[in-house]
Amino acid sequence: MSAQPFRLPAGGRIDRSRPLAFRFDGKPYTGFAGDSLAAALLANGVRLVGRSFKYHRPRGIFSAGPEEPNALVRLRREARAEPNTRATMIELFDGLEAESQNRWPSLGFDLGATASLFAPLLPAGFYYKTFMAPRRGWMFYERFIRAAAGMGRAAEAPDPDHYEKRHAHCDVLVVGGGPAGLAAALAAGRTGARVLLVEERAELGGALRREAAAISDAPAAEWLAATLAELASLSEVRLLRRATAFGYYDHNLVAVLERVADHLPEPPPHRARQVLWQVRAPQVVLATGAIERPLVFAGNDRPQVMLASAARAYLNEFAVAPGTRAVVFTNNDSAYATALDLRRVGIRVTAVVDPREGSGGDLPRRAREAGIECRFGHAVLAARGRSRVSAVEVASLGTAGHEHGDNLDCDLLCVSGGWSPTLHLHCQSGGRPEWNEALAAFVPGRSKQAERSAGAAAGAFALVDCIAGGLRAGAEAAQAAGFGTGVAPPAPDWPRESAAPLRPLWSVPARRWLKSFVDLQDDVTAGDIGLAAREGFVSVEHLKRYTTLGMGTDQGKTSNVNGLALLAEKRGEAIPAVGVTTFRPPYTPVAIGSFAGRETGRHFEPIRRTAMHEWHESAGAAWIEAGLWLRPSCYPRSGESEREAIRREAVAVRQGVGLVDVSTLGKIDIAGPDAAAFLDRVYANIFSNLPVGRARYGLMLREDGIVFDDGTTSRLAEQRFLMTTTTANAVRVMQHLEFLLQTVWPELRVAATSVTEQWAAMALAGPKSRDVLARAAEGVDVSDAGLPHMGVRDGRIAGVPVRIFRISFSGERAYEINVPADWGLRVWTALLDAGRESGIVPYGMEAMGILRIEKGHVAGAELDGTTTAADLGLGRLVAMKKPDFIGRHMLARPALADPRRPRLVGFVPVDGATRLRAGAQIVADSRVPPPVPMIGRITSAADSPTLGHPIALGFLEAGASRHGETLHALFPLADQWVPVRVVDPVFYDRAGERLHG
């Protein structure tokens, strides 16, 4: 491990008693607890950190915050690797590993940098103008473009960490823990309001952390300590650190990402790596501070060109000397603090270069008093050097671009082009930024939601103004949320530092072959902006998309204002006329995993389980998904394939008896004086004449006449029905009934309640089903007279009450048994016990599917939302004599009444052996070239064990009249072609004799 040659001997907020080891590009270094990775790299003299997106130019550390465009690294290793991570925002931890990106073979020697040689051929949008030939040529070029583009490399393995989401509520949400935010939280907190303050950094204090004044100057430091202490004492105030408010959504919902464990090697047991907070706050205070702007001049992208405020952060917060000889280039007073701070720790400040003719502000005065050379009326024309700055060329502004200036040696160039209030959340909330001429910056406009900005975010740059503004915002927000009087506590009466106005300087004219960067991350130069404007991309949105300005991971935090100011110059218009691009969430990039929270793996969607689920599991069921439910598809015995099991189960039902879990069917209790009338309007067929104790198959249409759902509905009492629905539509049917009852026919006195969860349900089917039931059931006459087909009776099995419906889906005699769910397993096992001597088998969905296909019953594949009752062969059920029911009035439309519509038919292979597949298309002539007219399709297919040959259901144009015809079932995806004969869709027991015994 090497020493830290650039660590200052004293000062900073780091913990020198806790040295930490880390590696960058494989090389070992040390830093201290409290360092950011960027600070630790600088302390070790590492200046070159990455390569740029397009030209692979060397890049260093530019900022000390979330706005960082350059210093993106791949953090951690293997499954925990995180590409594109800003070194400025990584808290150092012991064992941290990071590597540089977008370079090959190494950071120092990067072959990609040859791109710079071709740079003249690669202006903005060059790819639109070439790579067009030959016809599929792009597929060739694209490979190289893709490999060259992109930044970091993703991890290859699943993320080993987990994430959480949580909802949160408060009266006042404060975003930002700088002086303004803390003051707002204090003022609001004192009223008793519930306050949540979120701060992106690990420590509170905001800009105060980096300002020497606030560290050494007693009043500011005391104010901070006292404020934090009081906030800690307020029980309804919560301060959340390492938490970034990244999205401001409708109705004051703010999304916050808390980085719980990113500062640790890995999350502690049971803790999430990150938590996504969804905060609903009646009032929001945005105290997000301001971001310093760079200046645009030739070579301004070289490592060691750094924001002036960042240099202060490295000096004061981290006790790191970012260089040894510095030049400061600024158009405003604030960067003079950097010059003073550099000087204070003994770093030579060669000059402060300032395009203004002078400044009467306090800081420049103090700089002059300290003997720092101030070159007013001057600008930096170019930064020189290769992998870091070695000198800058300075000239008087009037001559820039024409004459050579003075070369000043330096290894650090601190720049400040003014400050941009951090408006992202305000704009996301619907606010439109307003241009403030004096600050040469956009400030928040009128609020569209219940939010207000305070401090630097509101364009107040003096500390006392930030505190006063924060107190005011906090008090007002609390009052608006119903707490306190709205009167702000008094602000400290410190004298305000005087500052001279800044002078906007959007770019320093440069020689044509030199590049002045506007967007450091996406390598967008001032020249690119000129080109875009010349070619007519003069809308700021076109500029953005044509040049990719502001489209990188930093979303243009340091580049957007400069870019649009340059566009305004080209257009000869004022900046506000050009406008800004849309601010979109997230404020800073957010791990995709955090949006998912715990909803990964088995919790992606819950599994619904029936009361017999565990029995199925222990019986070795193979599962099939039905919505959220898992249902047994079959129960393979040892040594048996699934196909064999399915066949065995189907045969068992046809020849003996089987038991199947049908609990997932929707069940709806429909009761009240108008229940029967309601069902008459909901179903296409009639229910009002159904006698008590009987069940009937019902067909539900959509209002457009297409079949919606089907199921049996039973009359349990004069005013009470039990409706069943398909598993797939259970939720939708319930919602549909509630809609009709509450909005269309509110006069009907009917209550509909879902009782799907109340009842476990199972079907006992097969010629021996009555024997089994007779053995198991008590208190009910199961003879054909006592319980006829479509009859419903109450009884008991295994000592618990059950309801028995004699209905059949298989075509065999069958009973459906409903039992309160907690007793479902009990009755299931009782029936199996009672059936043992009859050879009962449990059967699954697949066997059930075969049985219903043999019987020609339609199911999901046929009820696909495009078929009418007539298409399904169920036209006779539709009771047109009823004056009204859902779907009645649109049935006669030409397309629905067309006799050529595809109708349900059966298909069998002409050779009696070749299996048919669902999804095959039916054609009359298989030899025509595409497009081949398709006259039908196969929807469900089975290898019928009962009939001994393959069968299928499907639809065929005018199918009802075509039984006996020979056609072709085509499955070109598998190169299959099967001649088929059209037959009646009921393959088995057409007369329905087996239902009765």
Partner: protein, 209 residues
């Protein structure tokens, strides 16, 4: 009475797990079993008769406002929607709550529906109970906005749930659809681990608060 088999049979095992805070587990979790749960739905707008019938049938009159529970003698009447209440009581041999309500409401414009097996009821309590629920429930469960005997239908993750604040510990009863109960339980256990969680036996949670 024949014993019922809970949807959580085999899943809910008493014991401690996770990372408790110094003061002990942050969450105490258990299932409330053997409850009779009956829904009463009023037909039409005038529900005074229905309220009276409920009071007569179970001994507790529904609270006057929406989103409130009324309790007495081990019975709770929870508002569950406009004109709808859930009546909850411990199952007692020989006394069928649904039948009692049915009888008391025989002439009222109301429909009585037994939902006793349709819901799995959990009790979540402890100092971290709110933090735990906040992971899946969008309601503001702060005592100011969700006082004792507030009740509301909402979500817990993907599962619909009726939440009832039973005391200021805080403790909450969650009424979950039976088929979702096991997934929800697993979700709760995983989510509670960071606070330290104690699962208690069902017997410790009978009664209605």
């Amino acid at each position: 009475m024949v014993e019922r088999r809970s949807a959580l049979e085999g899943a809910a095992r008493p014991g401690d797990f996770g990372t408790p805070a110094a003061g002990g587990p942050g969450v105490i979790l258990g299932e409330r079993r053997s409850l009779a749960i009956v829904q009463v739905a009023a037909l039409g707008e005038r529900d005074a008769a229905v309220r009276g019938g409920i009071a007569a049938g179970c001994g507790v009159a529904p609270a006057a406002e929406a989103s409130r529970a009324a309790r007495g003698g081990g019975t709770a009447v929870l508002w569950s929607g406009p004109g709808r209440w859930l009546v909850v009581a411990a199952e007692q041999p020989g006394s069928d709550l649904a039948a009692r309500l049915e009888a008391a409401l025989a002439t009222a414009p109301a429909v009585v529906t037994d939902l006793g097996h349709a819901r799995t009821v959990l009790r979540v309590s402890g100092p971290s109970a709110r933090d735990l629920l906040a992971k899946g429930c969008p309601l503001d469960l702060h005592l100011r906005t969700f006082p004792v005997d507030a009740c509301a239908h909402s979500l817990l993750g993907h599962a619909g749930t009726l939440i009832h604040a039973v005391d200021a510990v805080p403790s909450f009863d969650l009424y979950l659809a039976r088929s979702y109960a096991r997934s929800a339980w697993e979700w709760i256990e995983e989510s509670a681990a960071e606070y330290g969680c104690r699962v208690v036996a069902p017997a410790d949670l009978t009664g209605s608060g």
